[in-house]
């Protein structure tokens, strides 16, 4: 038996270093932040990357001219690699607006083979290079078609590249920029756009406009580079606080502190609604963490488990683990459960600047704009779909019922009660009763949900992307909502491609859709409803194909105005038109909730900024202690297994069982 004792001793010794540490042994003791990504980014090429899971990395690697102030609310832009905010001037003669960008002279790229041993500084022509690169269709920039009518000379620039033959050699974009992009001197760039479009500065805070060094572009264009996955898509180079030292989207991405990073300091001003200790690190040199490790974690189950073990520093909260982590008080406010408080967690929550809605296809003969009575049907459905319940069941209360298209936190947000679906009860906005919805159904010509033509329940079709079993619950719920009005909802679940195809062809009837804000401005949401953006006719983002002349006129005005009271009044007017027409059931604004361990500092919600890693600070010692405490292996099963095996062996050797077969 002594060997068993020895084994147990050995095991308990090695228990000091946790058995289940999922990283190389040394890493957890270093100034390293551990995070995860669930879907590999498709590309990190600054000209292409647009999805949030790409921005997580790219935002910290490359730096566009502007950034969002980390701690100021409402969101405010500030210069990042510029000396000051761009100055704009309108020229009535040509009907153009020019933006003058003046670069700092101490901005250098992270080291790269293509630079040799030199420190390469950013010049105005690098910014021009990035814009020209965008104009080449073969680079596949997703915003090119947005920029095409905007930047002066962009369309000519595009044509010049379209004409080129398809080759695999490097296209030198130097000195081929659109006529509206002018290099004044080494550090000054002028961009001219058609007309007046105040939101343009927001685009300057996106990585699309980050400077591109031509040397690296040339380097990646060499033959054989692509086969080794050496390209902008996988090894972007920029001036950000970190560079990508390991890129293996199949397993792990590692961001390492950029040795050439320019002087940058923790802000010393903050919005008063942030916690008191927000400015503890004010004035400190950034970044504060040496390395950030992102591990690929496709499944929610291991992600959460590892987070609880202390191996991830942050985690979202899926609905499965919600009750374990978060409790709602009677007012519906979120707070941590005692268990989580004991672990020293921090809770971060904010309403996302995005909208998830249920759209009606306005081209549909039954439910669309052709049929004047269909408005009542749409309104009735808007009342009947109880998004309060949806939020309670599927999101554990993490969401706000949308009263209009514009999320909170944006100037002009639709925060008042939508009179079509809700009514004020004292101070509370309460959903109208089902009775009212049924009256509207009768008004629309479907009393009790019966279709007069067939005498049976009205049948509506709901198109959705759904492949997994997880969606079944939500689909069932949706059917129930329509059944409340006596409508039979037929669900046509397809894969993503098919769904998109239907949307483009206008064959969908009712569908779910969502929108993430590109920038914090009401215009970015209202343009989803403009007739000139209709999906079927123009391939635009107006998925409902909604047309309303009055609304379109209002939108045109809103787009040109800076944020003023007058503009807010116009927005309110536009929103009330949409509410009445009800092309969307406004759905909900999701609330982002995430948890952080106590050893992570300086995390505050900022939905616009994507370069927030540089502000983080961690307490390595505290983390080590917690990890050691939370990961003690359970040893008694070893004894149990050992005893059973010995027992079995003994049984085999005991005389009554030893009689063997004679074959």
């Amino acid at each position: 038996m002594s060997w068993l004792v020895a084994l147990v001793c050995l095991l308990s010794l090695s228990a000091q270093a946790a058995w289940n540490n999922p990283y190389p042994r040394g890493w957890v003791h270093e100034n390293t932040l551990f995070s995860a990504f669930s879907a590999p980014p498709k590309t990190l090429d600054p000209v292409k990357a647009y999805n949030s899971n790409e921005m997580v990395f790219l935002g910290n690697i490359v730096e566009p001219p502007l950034q969002y102030h980390y701690l100021k609310r409402p969101y405010q832009l500030e210069p990042l690699i510029l000396t000051e905010m761009p100055t704009s001037s309108y020229d009535a003669a040509t009907n153009t607006t020019s933006y003058r960008l003046h670069l700092r002279d101490d901005i250098a790229y992270a080291p790269h083979v293509a630079f040799g041993a030199n420190k390469r500084f950013v010049t105005a022509s690098d910014l021009a290079y990035a814009i020209t690169r965008m104009a080449d269709r073969t680079n596949g920039s997703p915003i090119l078609d947005m920029m095409l009518p905007l930047i002066v000379g962009m369309s000519d620039c595009v044509k010049q590249f379209d004409a080129l033959a398809k080759t695999n050699t490097w296209r030198d974009y130097r000195n081929r920029q659109p006529s509206g992009v002018e290099i004044i001197d080494e550090h000054t760039l002028m961009i001219r756009i058609h007309g007046v479009y105040p939101p343009f500065v927001y685009w300057l805070a996106m990585p699309f406009f980050a400077p591109i060094p031509w040397e690296v572009d040339q380097y990646y264009a060499q033959p054989g580079m692509r086969e080794k996955n050496q390209s902008w898509s996988w090894l972007p180079i920029g001036t950000g606080a970190y560079y990508l030292s390991e890129n293996n989207p199949n397993r792990r991405m590692v961001l390492q502190r950029n040795p050439n990073f320019h002087a940058d300091f923790y802000p010393s001003e903050a919005s008063p609604d942030l916690p008191n200790n927000v400015l503890d690190d004010a004035g400190k040199r950034l970044p504060m963490v040496d390395r950030v490790v992102y591990a690929l974690e496709k499944e929610a189950v291991p992600y959460w488990a590892k987070f609880l073990q202390g191996y991830y520093d942050a985690s979202g909260v899926s609905s499965e683990v919600f009750d374990q982590a978060i409790q709602l008080d009677a007012q519906g406010k979120l707070s941590l459960t005692p268990v989580m408080q004991e672990k020293g967690m921090q809770l971060l929550s904010s309403v996302a600047t995005s909208l998830s809605y249920l759209g009606f296809n306005m081209l549909d003969p039954l439910i669309g704009q052709e049929n004047p009575n269909a408005k009542y049907l749409r309104q009735a459905i808007s009342i009947a779909i109880d998004y309060e319940e949806d939020i309670a069941i599927f999101l554990n209360g993490r969401g706000l019922v949308a009263q209009g298209p514009i999320p909170p936190g944006i100037s002009g947000a639709s925060e008042d009660c939508n009179p079509i679906t809700h009514q004020l009860n004292g101070t509370q906005c309460v959903r109208r009763s089902l009775l009212e919805a049924k009256t509207l159904m009768a008004k629309a010509g479907y009393p009790d949900g019966l279709d007069p033509k067939t005498g049976k329940a009205l049948v509506l079709y709901y198109d959705t992307v759904s492949t997994g079993a997880d969606d079944k619950a939500q689909l069932d719920w949706m059917r129930k909502q329509f059944a409340k009005l006596g409508i039979q909802l037929v669900i046509r679940a397809t894969d993503y491609n098919r769904f998109q195809e239907k949307m483009r062809a206008g064959n969908a009837q009712i569908f779910t859709w969502g929108w993430n804000a590109d920038y914090p401005d009401a215009e970015n949401f209202l343009f989803l409803l403009v007739g000139s953006n209709a999906k079927v006719e123009t391939g635009g983002e107006n998925a409902s194909n909604y047309h309303n002349k009055q609304f379109d006129a209002l939108y045109a005005q809103i787009a040109r105005l800076p944020d003023t009271a007058e503009r807010r009044a116009l927005i309110a007017k536009a929103v009330s038109i949409v509410r009445e027409d009800a092309p969307w059931v406004f759905g909900l604004f999701p609330q982002n909730v995430s948890l952080f361990h106590g050893w992570v500092h300086n995390v505050y919600p900022n939905l616009m900024a994507n370069n927030t890693l540089k502000y983080r600070r961690i307490d390595v010692e505290k983390r080590e202690q917690a990890q050691a405490l939370w990961n003690q292996p359970v040893l008694w099963p070893f004894g149990f297994i050992g005893v059973s095996i010995i027992g079995l062996l003994l049984m085999l050797w005991l005389p009554p069982y030893r009689k063997r077969n004679e074959l």
């Binding site: 488990a305 499965e320 069941i393 059944a483 239907k502």
Partner: protein, 439 residues
């Protein structure tokens, strides 16, 4: 009354099985063999359990239209289940719970606002006092168990006078005991299900017991239909290749090597994507999503069948190669007997046991495969009740606190019982028909 495609298939399946056993009675040799199979107590018990599964699937394959817009189509099974089918809650609740697992904000009588579990709508309604729960559970359990057992015993007693059961070589006693226990259990499930959620409720408040029962039909269809689809392919290809040799053999070998060479999951995945495309483009053909899910289920079977015939075909080919060298086959062919007759008279009967064993083994493999396919996202429609879909959901639920384990349990018990009884039967069949591989 409404016939889904899969309903037709289920009934066809059962009819063909009945026909098969009727044919058995004609053939004395085979009948003796099958009696040998039935002499095993385990095989007898397994058969009874299997019959129960088949009955559930059959009851679930009689569909009727209703006027209820939320459940436009119901099956005979749904109707007979009562509260188990209709007792929908809002979200999770534990087995035999009378309170929800989720919490709701509400006002107490003294005016305080609290967040607490709420009483379930369809469980424990008959209780005046929640403290009576355990007493009520015991009482009801005893009642329903004894009803079930007494009923079953009566049936057994009545049947025992029939002459069929006088054959003493067969373990009728085991069969009777299994039957009685099973009856007791099922009646208990049904009875308890009327006033409680025996296996709790799932995410949107669906009764997990109900979901598990609905999974029976899907499981049996996937296993049964696919096996049925593969058989003709495999038999024809295998025998033709082995019997004719030469270029026919080459072609068949080429075909199945090619099919085998493509990794199974990938072939199924691509075929399923094609099927989804078809379904999406012809969405208007289907009156309800149930019909659509139904066609998708059939397509899954078809695809599985197309890829599944190769194994059996290979075995049959090898065996036919041997058989055609037999004296009597050679003699028949020398007398100018036609090939079709030789195959029908001499080859097929001697290959029957191989086909049978492979079919039974495939069946259980397919039921298990369904779960994996659903996990990869290329299985049955996500709206279709199936064990694979349940397992898929249950993975996430293990992360909850408190752990929601009843979905996993429901799927596990259903799947395990079905596959185990099939495997046990298969074991016995193999033992009788192919003793060499068994020992």
């Amino acid at each position: 009354m409404l016939l889904l495609w899969s309903d037709i298939v289920v009934w066809l399946l059962v009819t063909s099985l009945l026909y098969f056993f009727w044919r058995l009675k004609q053939d004395t040799l085979l009948r003796e063999r099958w009696q040998l199979v039935a002499q095993s107590r385990i095989a007898m018990a397994s058969t009874i359990v299997l019959l129960a599964f088949v009955l559930i699937a059959l009851a679930d394959s009689l569909h009727f239209r209703t006027n209820d817009p939320y459940r436009p189509v119901v099956s005979a099974l749904d109707m007979s289940l009562g509260n188990i089918a209709t007792g929908q809650e809002k979200s999770y609740s534990a087995p035999f719970a009378i309170e929800s697992l989720w919490q709701e904000t509400r006002q107490t009588d003294d005016g305080r606002v609290i967040r607490a579990p709420v009483p379930l709508q369809h469980a424990g309604k008959q209780l005046d006092n929640p403290n009576d729960l355990s007493r009520d559970l015991w009482q009801r359990s005893l009642t329903f168990l004894s009803i079930g057992i007494i009923l079953a015993s009566l049936i057994v007693w009545m049947l025992s006078h029939l002459s069929v059961f006088s054959q003493t070589a067969l373990p009728w006693k085991s069969a009777a005991i299994t039957f009685i226990v099973l009856c007791g259990f099922l009646v208990w499930l049904w009875g308890m299900g009327q006033s409680y959620h025996v296996l709790g409720t799932g995410k949107v408040g669906e009764d997990v017991l109900y979901a598990s029962l609905k999974g029976v039909r899907t499981g049996i269809l996937i296993g049964g239909l696919t096996t049925l689809l593969t058989l003709p392919f495999a038999v024809v290809m295998g025998i033709v290749a082995g019997y004719f040799k030469g270029w026919v053999d080459d072609v068949v070998q080429y075909l199945y090597t090619t099919l085998n060479a493509v990794p199974g999951v990938l072939l199924i995945a691509s075929a399923m994507l094609l099927a989804q495309l078809y379904l999406a483009q012809h969405a208007d053909v289907f009156a309800s999503e149930q019909e659509r899910a139904d066609v998708r289920l059939l397509l899954v079977c078809l695809v599985l069948g197309l890829t599944g015939w190769t194994g059996l075909a290979r075995i049959l080919r090898a065996e036919s190669l041997k058989l055609r060298e037999m004296e009597y086959v050679k003699a028949a062919s020398a007398f100018g007997v036609s090939h079709v007759r030789i195959i029908g008279r001499h080859l097929l009967p001697n290959l029957g046991h191989l086909v049978l064993i492979s079919a039974v083994l495939d069946f259980s493999g397919l039921v298990l495969a369904e779960a994996v396919l659903s996990y990869v996202g290329i299985g049955v429609d996500p709206t279709m009740p199936s064990w694979g879909n349940m397992i898929n959901l249950a993975r996430q639920e293990l992360n909850r606190e408190p752990v929601v384990w009843w979905n996993l349990l429901g799927a596990f018990v259903g799947m395990f019982t079905l596959v185990l009884s099939v495997n046990l039967l298969a074991d016995r069949v193999q033992h009788v028909f192919n003793p060499r591989a068994q020992g």
